[in-house]
Amino acid sequence: MTDTPEPDEIVEEPVAEAPEPEPEPEPEMVRADNVHKSFGSLEVLKGIDLVVKPGEVCCVLGPSGSGKSTFLRCINHLEKINAGRIFVDGDLVGYRERGGKLHELSEKDVARQRRSIGMVFQRFNLFPHMTVLDNVMEAPCRVKRESKSEVRERATALLDRVGLSSKIGNYPGQLSGGQQQRVAIARALAMRPKLMLFDEPTSALDPELVGEVLDVMKGLAQDGMTMIVVTHEIGFAREVGDNLIFMDGGVVVEQGAPRDVIGNPQHERTKAFLSKVL
């Protein structure tokens, strides 16, 4: 895994002949090809490959600092990758390939790509100065410029779905962590994303509040949402995940069906990690 050759560096100006992705026979929601990412001299991702098919739930496990969050942030271009390619629903993320050259997408085009990728953060990051309903309505109204009444209807339905219809007029500061995270999920869903990214959505929660958030995520998975979930909840990964990858030191150490990886890990690092979290 580590010894895959370095792909072409992403340079803003002319780039050497980029490997054309062959037209996929099967639809892929996410495709990461040999993704590299460095912060200064620190290489955090050292060649990540991943394919997530529509409707799949991919769980990402790994010790702290292994680059899980960074990888997730690369998928919606919150971080620029240094080499490799990431495709979401067939579109190259952050760039346009034309005549063998990579062109950076304009801020507007990147924003358009992000609209269809929902993200849920470890620390919720709800907007504290807006009510729960306004949090959910903000992006559809401002970004997609949808009609207010329509969005309000949809937002109310989403909040009902995550079990928070009674908290519509509250401010985030008045909610428990579990409630805030459920609002955050509703906020992301309000944009009707094709893909949802979860970065340790339950890690900041008191143990008794974890279940309510996982339940919402299970429901989403059952409804066919494509999800990439960074989590330490092994039970969730085993029950809901279609695929599991274990990352360590910026590489994918092991991947496969959750049952197999968790029940019968092949690599020492996976075993060591699982023995700590199980």
């Binding site: 919606n76 919150l78 801020e107 507007k108 924003a111 358009r112 992000r114 609209r115 990728i117 929902g118 993200m119 953060f121 620390r123 990051n125 709800l126 907007f127 504290p128 100065h129 807006m130 009510t131 309903l133 306004d134 903000e138 992006a139 401002r142 970004v143 997609k144 519509i168 007029g169 509250n170 401010y171 985030p172 500061g173 008045q174 955050a184 906020r187 992301a188 944009m191």
Partner: protein, 334 residues
Amino acid sequence: MSEQSTTERARPEAIKAVPVRHPVRWVSIAVIAVLVAMFVHLLLTNDNFRWSYIFVSYEEGKRGVMFTGPVLEGLRGTILLTITSMAIGIGLGTVLAVMRLSPNRILSSVAFVYTWFFRAVPRLILAILFGNLNILWSRIGFGLPFDEQIGKLFGIDNFNGQFYSIRAVDLLAGFVAGMLALGLSEAAYMAEIVRAGLQSVDSGQSEAAVALGMSRFQVLRRIVLPQAMRVIVPPTGNETIAMVKDTSLVAFVPVAGELWFQLNNISARTFVVFPVLVAAVIWYLIICTILMIGQYYVERHYGKGYGASARAKQRLRNIQVEQGGKITTTGETP
């Protein structure tokens, strides 16, 4: 008043304890009372205050010095100057703060140099400097360049292609010069305040907003600035109050339509000093008190979702919802 308790156990007797005595508290109250009485006595009995000069009439057939025409004009000028220069300061200051935080090196250096210059030069000197800037240009305006020369080509003498122009002395003297001096200087201070406010907002906020597909301007306008306001408003209130007082500096531009200039004028003419000073104190007290009240409400507005008042409002809203009332979102969303 039934003493019956629903539980088995009887309620114990209510506590009736002798409260702790606070002798120091009482002594200090007495001392303060005496001092206040002495002050009131001074105000009422000392003829040098000349209250009728201040409030009733300062000259034959004139109102009191506080309410006489030129002083009220000056008061209007002071308020107008405060508002306009603070508007320039806040607007330009916000732009400078955003420039300063921009990854673009040129923008951030420009903002840095601006702030450096205007913080270094005393306002008084700036005011005088701006009052004399018209030495550099005789007319300021916009229109066709080289209008006279073009006119000559077509045989018209003195062709004037200026759509609008004004003698520099008219524009860059008096009020406008004072406003610019104060406003541009204020922008340097406001830039620092706004920058601190923007930086106080958790980076997770803009990250979440960007991840939703919001543009950089939308993130600033809808997410970051409203939260930064909690940090920005209190020092801005102080700046505004300081500005009310600094407007008296424009007397050196010179600007005539300003409170202290007018009061001072009367003082010089009537040879009455102390009551005029008292009148000035009273006017500045009144303006600043009104501003402080305003500040309270602005702070409360931007504290939404954070403090006790938010909870109180929430209770009200829940009641409305329970009674089938419509949920009205506060703030700019209609």
